[in-house]
Amino acid sequence: MTYALEANLICKNFLRKNKKPVQALQDVNLRIPQNTVYGLLGPNGSGKSTFIRIASTLLIPDSGQLSILGHDVKTQSNDVKWLINRVSVEASFFRNLSAFENLLFSAGLYGVSRKSAIQRIFDITDRIGLDRKRLNERIRDYSRGMQQKVAIARALITQPPVLLLDEPTTGLDPRAKLEVQELIRVMREKLDVTIVLTTHDMTEAEKMCDKVAIIHNGKVVVDGDPDYLMEQLPKTQQKPTFEEVFLHFTGVDFTEAEKEVSA
């Protein structure tokens, strides 16, 4: 079976500015089946974004293997680049260019002709509810939620079979957050795509993902169906929350884990 993403014993260490080493990922193993929404769940600084960067060919692991649809990110990075696209927590655009110019540029980098790119831009922006009239406005004049929608449009234009969404809803206001979540749900239903979604929002993971892996201090603590993970907890009258699942498997309170990192 070819997995959308398969990681074997991925390790990545960094040196902090004070030369102190940080183990960002330790022996991470993951198998993500095709056409699923897979959640990587963990507090800030747990290693989620490092993992996504490795899958995006932007970081080279110190050891281990990671492949996208059977292509190794280290030795076949050019093949992998055709199979993925990524949406990060910061929308990251040329702020003084319009959404249209930014999207056209991205499409061009993936070899899409100008004519097809324009068609795709209109199709996607209509689908995700972006007003065509606003496409010629500078990105810097867009709200964060709008920028994130354009970021998703940028990723979809290249029609990748694997979409890496790195905390796409972080920092958005509640309404924009719901809109982006709805968009992910629509993509999951209508497109032939595997979505890897990192989040530190427990409710979001529960709501959006078919499978999740809990990652803490660079290690995958547990993975499986959300319902299966919840079943592992001692039976109570109420359905356990994801925070309780995190506490059960890591022994650390999720809020405390977030505080540890920010300290």
Partner: protein
């Protein structure tokens, strides 16, 4: 194979379009830099003219004025080619788009050469404009100039400067915090050693030795000869060969260095400023 070529071509056009759009959007800054360059060139031209008031009659003031003006104009061109190319990484870091560009399935050689192409085109248009403005300030007499030879020299010189620019672009890639400043130092050192406003013959011997390694030395000498003396293109072989040789050395070395630096940055988490 054909499909691959078309893809790279489209990607190259996208880089050129993007840079054009960015230049358009930041037009106020372009105007600032243009005025700065013109003011600089005019001031330097007047310094040349001023020498007539205290020099002996044997010195041609017009010649010195043109010598200085040409230095200023050519440096304006070559430094813009160098800067646009060397700022490829700094600019993307500033806009925070570097990861998206490096994640796209485009060969680095396509990426860098298309930025070089844009840089040369942009610098050429800018230089023509500056030249036109300068005619308002100075009575430029170039009846004997060999323009076609000068243009060819400029084209040949551009390639070596593109190569140098690519080599310099490596600095911001390996050092997100200090790389851009290091490029600035590199550019000013190049100006000092290459005889932009003076003949390198007046430099101390050790500086003359270093000047021989700068493409600007040969470009300036060759273009001055063709403009001021009306020399034929083929008579400038002693300036052409070093430029051709440097282009063949600097461009592949630059691309090779850039690819290695990219791999290093990916290994050490330096693509993104925050790591």
């Amino acid at each position: 194979m054909r499909e691959r070529f078309i893809h790279e071509l489209r990607a190259g056009i996208s880089f050129v379009n993007r840079n054009f759009n960015l230049t358009k959007r930041y037009w106020k800054w372009e105007v600032v830099f243009l005025i700065w360059t013109i003011a600089n060139a005019v001031s330097i031209g007047f310094i040349g003219k001023w020498t007539g008031s205290f020099s002996s009659a044997e010195i041609s003031t017009d010649y010195i004025t043109m010598y200085m003006l040409l230095g200023s104009i050519l440096w304006g061109y070559l430094s813009v080619v160098f800067e646009v190319v060397s700022e490829t990484v700094s600019w993307e870091r500033w806009e925070d788009t570097i990861e998206y560009t490096f994640m796209a399935p485009v060969k680095r050689v396509t990426h860098l050469l298309s930025v070089c192409g844009y840089a040369a085109l942009y610098a050429l248009l800018r230089t023509v404009f500056i030249l036109l403005v300068l005619t308002l300030f100075f009575d430029i007499q170039l009846t004997g100039a060999n323009y076609s030879a000068a243009f060819l020299m400029l084209v040949i010189a551009s390639f070596s400067f593109m190569g140098l620019g690519i080599c310099a672009a490596v600095l911001p890639l390996i050092s997100p915090e200090k790389g851009a400043q290091m490029v600035g130092i590199f550019s000013s050192i190049l100006l000092m050693f290459s005889g932009v406003y003076y003949d390198i013959g007046i430099l101390p011997a050790w500086m003359q030795f270093i000047a021989k390694g700068s493409p600007a030395t040969y470009a300036l000498r060759g273009i001055r000869n063709t403009i001021l003396e009306g020399s034929a293109f083929w008579s400038q072989m002693e300036n052409i060969w070093p430029l051709v040789l440097m282009s063949f050395i600097f461009i592949p070395i630059g691309i090779g260095l850039f690819s290695r630096a990219e791999a290093w940055a990916k290994k050490n988490g330096k693509l993104k400023r925050s790591g």
